[in-house]
């Protein structure tokens, strides 16, 4: 068997499959970039971030499904930590755990709550992210219940950012759909 015959026998992925992978990779890079950008931005306060990278997870959830969204969320935390230089630090542990919790909540709510939109999904995700951060910090690092005094005002802020991020994700998804027609 010649080399050219061997090459022809390798199954080639379909163009649609390659396009899907490229689209996912593009979203992953965008999400990682936003993750790093947010880490470098001046902080709006301790424990609080805008969650801009989550917009990309929501877009992936809407356009590519649950599996793609989950892998994208985890991937961007790992890549982001690599570039920020927080790999395996407490910040990374908190970030990864909170992302896992919020992504799980988002996927479950997207799957099981009827008539929920990306806004509601984002709202629940933001709340889950904030609560899980506090639980991880309280369980692993600070171990004082007084920590939870700070939670209610931050949850109010999470509601606002979660809602706005969801609205932004809905808008971007709609625009992408219009332009791809």
């Amino acid at each position: 068997m010649t080399a050219s015959q061997e090459i022809t026998q390798i199954p080639r992925p379909s163009l649609a499959s390659l396009e899907k992978k490229a689209y996912w990779l593009g979203l992953l890079l965008l999400a990682s970039g936003l993750h790093v950008f947010e880490a470098l931005m001046p902080s709006f306060g301790p424990w609080f971030k805008l969650g801009l990278a989550n917009i990309i997870t929501l877009i992936a959830l809407q356009s590519m499904g649950a599996k793609a969204a989950a892998s994208l969320a985890i991937g961007r935390v790992v890549i982001g930590a690599f570039f920020i230089g927080t790999m395996f630090t407490p910040t990374f542990i908190i970030s990864l755990t909170a992302t896992l919790a919020s992504t799980s909540v988002m996927l479950i709510s997207w799957r099981f709550i009827p008539r929920i939109s990306l806004i509601g999904v984002s709202l629940l995700g933001a709340l889950a992210h904030m609560c899980s951060q506090f639980v991880v910090v309280e369980q692993l690092f600070i171990q004082q219940i007084a920590l939870y005094y700070l939670l209610p005002p931050l949850l109010v802020l999470s509601c606002a950012t979660g809602w706005l991020n969801g609205a932004l994700a809905t808008y971007i998804t709609a625009q992408l759909t219009i332009r791809s027609r």
Binding site: S43, G45, P46, T89, P90, T91, I94, I113, P114, R115, I116, S117, I119, G120, L123, L124, L127, V137, F141, I142, Q143, Q144, I145, A146, L147, Y148, Y149, L150, L151, P152, P153, L155, V156, C159, W163, L164, G166, A167, L168, T170, Y171, Q175, I178, R179
Partner: protein, 148 residues
Amino acid sequence: MPIRTTLTSMHEPDPSSTPSLWHWLKGTWVDRILLLLTLITIIMGWSWIQQNLSGTPMVHIYHGKSLLAIYPLHPDKPIHFQAKGDIGLSEITIDSDGVRITHSSCVSQRCVLSGHRHRIGDILACVPNRILVSIQGTQKLALDAVSE
């Protein structure tokens, strides 16, 4: 210019059919119910905490589970306390402005940048060093009493 009009209409939505900002922000009725329930729960929890936080404000300094020191929030002269944490020392200053972390061994220095805290219920935390500074009232929160 028929060709240009056609190309433009292919790539850009007709401005007259573009939904308003409210369209993108309103969400579905399920989203709005979720928001309402969440806000009610948060406000109830917040007011419960506020009701239980009263009395003379005292600064509690913890390393993990261990209580390192308790000081009054408004001392006669400034207090400088060095708390030994997991990665080094955190210096805590209590003065007329309140309490703040003036120096920390952590890389991010977020605890130092947090500035002063002066109300009951406020906290300062250095997660890498596992140091928590909490302003608590002399009247204990029911939650604390249960956990002890």
